[in-house]
């Protein structure tokens, strides 16, 4: 029997994950497919666990949804982010966003910095700008260290969810209501009945509200995280990084937004989320999506990065027919790999009890500064480098080939590079001045 073609998708959930999935699918599906977004009240309650920082990848993701900076910046409190300033494990560092590792004469640059006993971070443009609280857009195609500036955003999940909702194309049918019951058969969710009596049927359900999942999905992880958030009005933005401080139990992060300062404290009380990931997020015709399938700690940018990756996996794997076993298997593989790789990064904020694959990475770094990367990791080589150095992991030895450059040449070259970065950083405007100016410009242009 030939399986029936897939003609309808329903997204359950009103939070950021549901909004992202709806926005992406609305632009990806052929016209003859129907797309329904069911706003389930309360689905956004846990959205604070997406954290307040996105990586640079968000720029393209939002742009593809028709939401460029001229839309996002004026309509929300979003500000530019150069990363997170951690006070962690008794140490302080700026965790800037990944830039491809520079290579000189076949050797990664940090090996030369190690040889000259200099701080690698001093050569990273984003770190230099972050230390001064300064920002400007990196110019395209120009040969200046500023072109290497990598930035993401500070944002509020609720605001972005609203922005995405408001921008949804008319093709998305929108419904709101509590779920009263579900009609299931085996691994198939036939329909969802709302309290007002309406019934939502679909060939595929994207469940970002925890409505239903077939038994046997399995879960890896298990501990809970609890967090509270607050927003203090301020004449912001007063910085260009999130600052995150370790507490006796948990941590507290302060994020500079356009009209205020956001504080997220992960400690012993507040909203709770189960950390870890579903082993099989997609079973039958239900894809469990968002924080309930992918519970990453907002200590790092992992929650947003994983959301964007999962949206991408979904878009690439929109089923062709109602037989979606291949799609589910592949989605689940990618989902597991992405989460597990991101989880290694989070575990690297610890000082012991490393899982094997992380232990190998740390051992290789500590023995010789080698950066081991597994396939398609969400956190890339320089992310790892900054984290290792931030955590005070010092390689015992360095690449033998770094010794090929004569001492004097190396020192003068490093001095030149460091000066170039410092000179540019010194000329950058404070983040607030730049941001205000940009908004005034956008305001005039829109008027």
């Amino acid at each position: 029997m030939v399986p029936a073609p897939l003609t309808s998708i329903a997204i359950l959930g009103g939070g950021l994950a549901g909004a992202f999935a709806a926005a992406r699918l609305a632009r990806s599906l052929p016209d003859d497919m129907t797309l329904t977004l069911v706003d389930v009240p309360g689905a956004e309650a846990k959205d604070l666990f997406f954290g307040t920082v996105t990586t640079p990848a968000a720029y393209n993701v939002m742009l593809a949804l028709g939401l460029g900076e001229p839309e996002v910046l004026p309509q929300t409190d979003t500000t530019f982010s150069l990363g997170t300033q951690y006070s962690w494990a008794g140490r302080e560092w700026v965790q800037a966003f990944h830039q491809p590792l520079p290579v000189m004469a076949g050797v990664q640059f940090h090996q030369y910095a190690a040889r000259a006993r200099q701080d690698y971070a001093d050569f990273v443009m984003s770190v230099a700008a972050a230390r001064r609280g300064a920002f400007a857009h990196p110019p395209e195609g120009q040969k200046t260290p500023l072109a290497e500036l990598e930035y993401g955003y500070h944002f509020l999940p609720a605001q972005w969810a609203k922005l995405l909702h408001d921008a949804l194309p008319a093709r998305v049918e929108r419904v709101a209501g509590e779920v009263a019951s579900v009609d299931t058969e085996g691994e198939t969710l036939r329909s969802v009945k709302l309290e007002d009596g309406r019934t939502i049927e679909a060939d595929l359900f994207i469940d970002a509200a925890g409505v239903w999942s077939a038994p046997g999905s399995g879960w890896t992880g298990g501990s809970m995280i609890y967090a509270e958030e607050s927003l203090t009005p301020a004449q912001g933005p007063v910085g260009v990084v999130r600052t995150l401080q370790q507490l006796d139990y948990g941590w507290s992060a302060t994020t500079p937004l356009r009209t205020g300062t956001h504080t997220l404290t992960a400690s012993k009380s507040g909203e709770g989320l189960k950390l870890g990931r579903s082993d099989r997020a997609w079973i039958g015709n239900v894809l469990s999506f968002g924080l309930l399938a992918t519970g990453a700690d907002p200590l790092t940018t992992a929650p947003m990065t994983l959301l964007m990756r999962n949206v991408e996996s979904l878009a690439e794997l929109i089923p062709f027919t109602t037989d979606m076993r291949v799609e589910a298997r592949e989605y689940n593989r990618r989902h597991r790999d992405d989460f597990d790789h991101a989880h290694l990064f989070e575990r690297a904020f610890g000082t012991e009890g490393y899982p094997d694959r992380l232990a190998h990475k740390i051992e290789q770094f500590e023995s010789r500064g080698a950066l081991v990367q597994y396939d398609l990791e969400p956190f890339e080589a320089q992310d790892w480098l900054l984290l290792h150095l931030g955590m005070g992991r010092i390689p015992k030895a360095r690449d033998v080939l770094a010794d090929r450059v004569p001492d004097a040449q190396l020192h003068s070259q490093l001095a030149t590079m460091r000066r170039a970065v410092e000179t540019v950083a010194a000329k950058l405007p404070p983040a607030k001045v730049y941001h205000d100016g940009l908004l005034r410009y956008l305001g005039k242009r829109n008027a």
């Binding site: 599906l29 076949g106 089923p319 062709f320 023995s367 690449d399 090929r404």
Partner: protein, 506 residues
Amino acid sequence: MGIQRICILGGGTAGWMTAAGLSNKFNSLGIDITLIESDAIGTVGVGEATLPHIRMFNQALGIDEAEFMRATRATFKLGIEFCDWGRLGDRYIHPFGDYGAPVDGIEFHHFWLRLLQNGHSAALDDFSYPVLAAEAGKFRMPGPDISRIGSNFGYAYQFDSGRYAKYLRGYSEARGVTRMEGRVVEAAREKKSGDIASVTLDDGRSVTADLFIDCSGFRGVLIEQELQTGYEDWSRWLPCDRAQAVPCEARGPSLPYTRATAREAGWQWRIPLQHRTGNGYVYWSEYISDEQATEQLMSTLEGPATADPKQLYFKTGKRKQLWNRNVVAIGLSGGFLEPLESTSIYLIQEGITALIELFPTSLDMERDASEYNRRMDLGFDRVRDFLLLHYVATQREDSPMWRYFRNMELPDSLSEKMEAWRSRGYVQRYEHGVFLPPSWIAVMAGQNLIPQGRDRRVDARPMADVIAMTDSIAKQSHAAVASTPNHGDFLKRYGAIDPSIMDAAE
């Protein structure tokens, strides 16, 4: 204290590539490199066809391309032609390059699938400049703008690996590598660590070193005979266990591609060089005798043989640890995968590159070895799956060998890949490994695995747009080929032809 002395055992392609790679990097650091080889031991010319990665290797050595091509009598290579693999009579070219270019992040082949699945006739080859150029016997370098059709491809060489080894010997000796003539008869171990301390030659001389590179071929003089590292046998999946190789006189213009023709009990290669054509038959001895293999090989040569066929025996697989103690196995001593996709020299190169990147910082090299082995194991595994794909993505069942593959239980990693392709044209990506999605697409589509579905996002566009877009790419590809010179002319103009061959021809 770090490594002071390196000893390379064996001087074939693997040995001299290693010597060249290491001397280029470590000569100025005062590290002493000795290579031991014996003229009495024949070297196996492991595949004379290469992958585009070889260019990076040569560039890192600072080698002049035309000079190297003259010295090795090399031709350019745009891909591999596979004959009789899907069904008898089929043929396709696996090119070094993409089909079309992604549109809004959607891989191009999904647009092709939409055409196909809606009853339009469309050949995937029309969207590949390297395939069309190869078919026409043409060649030129890719341009600098890789977003242009006609520039988003790579190329490799087909060369005489014996001459390549000789060329690199000159290079290495000029950079301080000491060559010793002789045969290793004994190895001495460090008492405490059990590492190799020195090797003794048949004339009684001995060589002491901190690090030994075993390029001694199938025998694995140090890695196996001395250290007994063990071998992972992959003949369950790749059961061909013998080969015969023979050069013959070339007929017709030299083609910018290698050919691999499937046979009843194996496959046959054809590699066009400047001065001759290399041929070989890789087979499974269970289903064909050596005599029959010789007969088949010799009867299918395009010109008179210029030497007697050389018989080779092997077992596919790899050493359990490619780096064990202070011995690194590079080349056949490390493992063997049949040269169906020209991976032999590539795997040598990967071994050298990883060794340079993980070059021991002290005599305690256990950690360096563990990362080296992890990386290389992954590389070998992924090549194995890709090779196996050729045997199992087929409709042939005309001989016992093909029926064996039909009934084979595949590694999960491979069967999932094939199923994802068949169901929706989806190709699993990975970051570390030689064969990228376009290669998988080439082989699966070329061997008649045509997906039932496609990426649904392509359906969000009007059909007329898809037709116009694909037409335009096909036209650009053909136009780019029309203005491409003949391969032979290009070789001449580029100064790549060995003058002695030019003289002979005139």
